[in-house]
């Protein structure tokens, strides 16, 4: 049944069960009830008269609640049950379950209903790596509650299980002796409360007995979240479903760190990555700024507060460095893992400054910029002081924690992602190209903030000088002359790691590409070696390690493509940006509105459908954010002073596109776009997988002036 796992989640409390609602986890099996990186239930099995149940259907009511319809007996050809069982479940501060048994017969039913419960209190990292526990377990019954506990030194974990109906409770679970009248029903509520701390400081369950309506733990309900987002109108119907899916998934991906005062930020992915990640939280915040700017604010606050302040080799921490990942589990607590927090990533620090600037441009919230001015200065200082490991003026990375640190500290973080054309892997340090782009952008944006918000023109001038110098050197040192693109990286000898990759698109986004080189880069991004028809491959066809289903060596990543589209817009390649948007949105339609983390790099004409890369993480935050950023690039939304510029360029599948009530420093405003109808007619309904050309004409302007765009030079 493991192929039909049902996952419910509220922040970083989540439950993964089979389609019966049962949990039978082993140390390596990733089912259970988890909260703050600890598994509080590893066994949760329902039987009626000693028999397991058979699932008829599961309703995923919301991401945080579901209803399981069950009948007794398993493995039989057909079901002829006299009774059925409904298990309605919601997560939030633990688990709440409403168990109902319906008697369909004319005779009364005498039943023994049993819920077996147990917990291994595994750390999420132990589940991943199958490690043994070092503490002591205990189980007891107190006041009709089953208490399951775990202790290691001062660390305490407790699971408390209770029911509203009379039950016999022992150390292995709850047993109900039930009489159900003819055509009658029996019901009980069951609460599973998780707690940490001495004496088991208990968290009150979100959905205590009698509360009939589950609500997520976040500051806002899902309904309000959807109602407050900009409204979309489009003649290409699938975009409505894609947009709604993105907003709902984004709501599910919100994580409220304990010190954030109830505010939430985007976690990286569901369910295993529901925590603060530097890179993922920042990139998702950038994608979603025009829609839900408060996510960016919380991201900046949390990452700013957690900014590195000392040199700590175990955590790969430096002063000014922005964290990679923060965890709360036992292995982190006992420093068997460095995530308290872990700082080993090379891009989050410049990207922090990029987000701070982009956030201010959209929202006009200068107070937050002033509040984090010191952190922004420290991040900018990190780029040159600690990020430049080779002393050559470029950010590079090499972990100092060689046991449990990360080898690859860029977004392409798999072991073989950084290779030369011939497939060789470079040593460390590695200076990947997109890091230099981010550094350039951070300096330019830092300069703008220094001049306009912090009133420090001398610092602004210094940053601009550094940025100009970096851009000049970069265009010389990274340019692969015989290929006419930018190398993936410089190795420890300063030699080019010369394979052709999607990273070139990030360089356009950051603005580090000299205008004279942009056309050649764009030709590659939309050319046959990189562009699959759906999107841009991470590594170009023809490179030695190219593999259409290799994680970072040939697959297409929707988030990557959304930033590439943004980069194309920055350099004025509107039609090309629309081509990328069309490919990714067509893929989104075929994935029922939810884009996976990555999909196969196969030629679109060959497979007709995008081939999903097998992954345990779905939805993933920056894939969820991709359609939102593509909406921005298609509409050509750019804040300028107090206004929102609309400069649309639509793919030919879309005739009209409008976004209402876009929040920002202008209050709320609308954006309209119109494609060319005569081109569109032939395209309607065509879903044969062929590549469509976007509108090449200069598109009709939106309500606002289409003039200004941020200079790309």
């Amino acid at each position: 049944m493991s192929d039909e796992l049902v996952r419910l989640l509220d922040g970083n409390t989540f439950v993964v069960s089979d389609s019966r609602g049962d949990i039978e986890a082993s140390l390596t099996d990733p089912t259970g009830l988890f909260s703050f990186d600890c598994r509080y239930l590893s066994k949760w099995v329902l039987t009626v008269n000693g028999e397991r149940l058979n699932p008829l259907s599961v309703d995923d009511l919301q991401y945080f609640e579901a209803r399981f319809f069950l009948v007794p007996g398993t493995g039989t050809v057909y079901v002829d049950a006299k009774l059925s069982v409904i298990r309605q479940r919601a997560v939030g501060g633990g688990l709440h379950e409403e168990l109902t048994i319906l008697n369909h017969d004319g005779q009364p039913l005498a039943l023994t209903v049993k819920l077996e419960a147990g917990s291994d209190f595994a750390d999420l990292f132990e589940v991943k790596d199958a490690l043994k526990k070092k503490g002591r377990y205990h189980a007891s019954v107190k006041d009709g509650q089953l208490l399951l506990g775990y202790e290691r030194e001062a660390l305490h974990r407790l699971t408390a299980i209770s029911a509203s109906a009379p039950a016999h409770v022992d150390e292995h679970g709850l047993t109900f002796t039930v009489q159900v009248e003819p055509h009658g029903r029996w019901t009980t509520d069951i609460d599973v409360v998780v707690a940490a701390g001495p004496g088991g400081r208990q968290v009150r369950p979100k959905y205590a007995r009698g509360e009939k309506r589950a609500q997520p733990n976040m500051g806002r309900s899902l309904e309000r979240w959807l109602a407050e987002a900009p409204r979309l109108d489009c003649d290409w119907e699938p975009l409505h479903a894609i947009y709604r899916r993105s907003l709902i998934d984004l709501a599910a991906l919100r994580f409220s760190p304990p010190i954030a005062g109830g505010a939430s930020l985007p976690a990286a992915g569901l369910p295993w990555f529901m925590t603060i990640f530097g890179r993922d939280s920042i990139l998702t915040s950038l994608q979603t700024l025009p829609f839900t700017p408060e996510l960016a604010a919380t991201t900046l606050r949390m990452l700013g507060d957690w900014q590195g302040s000392r040199v700590d080799d175990f955590r790969d921490e430096d002063p000014g460095r922005i964290l990679h990942e923060l965890r709360y589990g036992e292995m982190t607590a006992f420093e068997e893992r460095p995530h308290s927090p872990y700082y080993g990533c090379a891009d989050a620090t410049p990207l922090f400054v990029v987000l701070l600037d982009e956030y201010e441009r959209w929202t006009g919230d200068r107070r937050l910029v002033r509040e984090f001015e010191q952190e922004a200065r420290a991040a900018l200082a990190w780029i040159d002081r600690y990020g430049d490991l080779m002393g050559n003026g470029y950010i590079s990375y090499r972990r100092r924690n060689e046991q449990t640190g990360l080898e690859n500290q860029c977004w392409k973080d798999s072991w073989d992602s950084i290779s030369y054309r011939d497939g060789r892997l470079p040593g460390f340090p590695r200076a990947t190209c997109e890091l230099q782009g981010y550094a350039y952008d951070a300096k330019m944006r830092g300069a703008r903030l220094a001049r306009e918000v912090c009133k420090d023109p001398a610092f602004a001038a210094e940053l601009e000088h550094q940025a100009t110098e970096l851009k000049r050197r970069f265009n010389r040192d990274f340019w692969v002359q015989d290929g006419q693109y930018f190398a993936l990286a410089l190795d420890a000898d300063g030699k080019q790691v010369d394979s052709l990759t999607s990273n070139n698109g990030h360089l356009l986004w950051s603005g580090i590409v000299e205008k004279s080189k942009a056309k050649a880069v764009v030709r590659h991004l939309l050319g046959p070696r990189l562009f699959s028809g759906w999107g841009v491959r991470t590594l170009a066809e023809g490179e030695a390690r190219y593999n259409p289903i290799g994680y970072h060596v040939g697959t297409v990543w929707p988030f990557d493509c959304s930033f590439i589209a943004w980069g194309l817009r920055r350099y004025g390649f509107k039609a090309e940006a629309a081509t990328i948007a069309a490919g990714i949105l067509d893929a989104a339609e075929l994935f029922h509105g939810r884009l996976p983390e990555a999909f196969g790099g196969y030629e679109r004409g060959v497979t007709k459908y995008p081939v999903q890369y097998p992954t345990a993480c779905s939805p993933q935050a920056w894939s969820t954010g991709a359609p939102l950023l593509l909406l921005r690039t298609m509409l050509g939304l750019e804040p300028l002073d107090g206004h929102l510029i609309v400069d649309p360029a639509l793919p030919d599948s879309i005739g009209t596109l409008a976004l209402f009530d876009i929040p920002g420093r202008w209050g709320h405003t609308d954006a309209y776009a119109r494609g060319r109808p005569e081109l569109r007619k032939g395209a309607r309904g065509r879903r044969d997988g062929s590549v469509r050309q976007p509108v090449r004409r200069a598109p009709a302007a939106g309500r606002r002036s289409a003039a200004a765009r941020r200079s790309a030079s």
């Binding site: 001062a154 607590a333 006992f334 308290s340 984090f372």
Partner: protein
């Protein structure tokens, strides 16, 4: 494993005494609030250190007064934190140290704890 330099006895007292003369701390200019550290000795009553942060200025006293964040631990743990041997947040996660109230203040205050010894030069 993290670095494991020895814990200095009296590290807690030394840490707070040095903090009294720390002067302006630029990394804390936006922080305003008070933290009280209750250090529990085996037999004796807990000893208190009250730290007040305001626009980068740090004031330290021995008052047992109300604070926005109350941090409590035994002396051995805090000696470890104060000598850079133990990480305060990891200690909080394993409940060797507790924090009540505005835990965000402790996250920021951590910037003042000494770094661990380098595991490589």
């Amino acid at each position: 494993m993290p670095s494991r330099q020895p814990t200095r006895p009296n590290a807690t007292t030394e840490f707070f005494r040095e903090l009294q003369t720390h002067g302006h701390e630029p990394s804390l200019v936006k922080v305003s609030g008070t933290l009280r550290f209750d250090i529990v000795d085996d037999a004796a009553a807990p000893s208190h250190w009250l730290v007040s942060l305001k626009k980068g200025e740090i004031a330290v006293s021995r008052k047992n007064a109300r604070a926005d964040c109350v941090v409590r631990s035994d002396r051995a743990t805090f000696d470890g934190v104060a000598s850079g041997r133990l990480n305060a947040f990891a200690a909080l996660l394993r409940e060797a140290l507790s924090a009540q109230g505005d835990v965000g203040l402790l996250v920021l205050f951590q910037r003042l704890f000494p770094p661990p010894a380098r595991s490589e030069p």
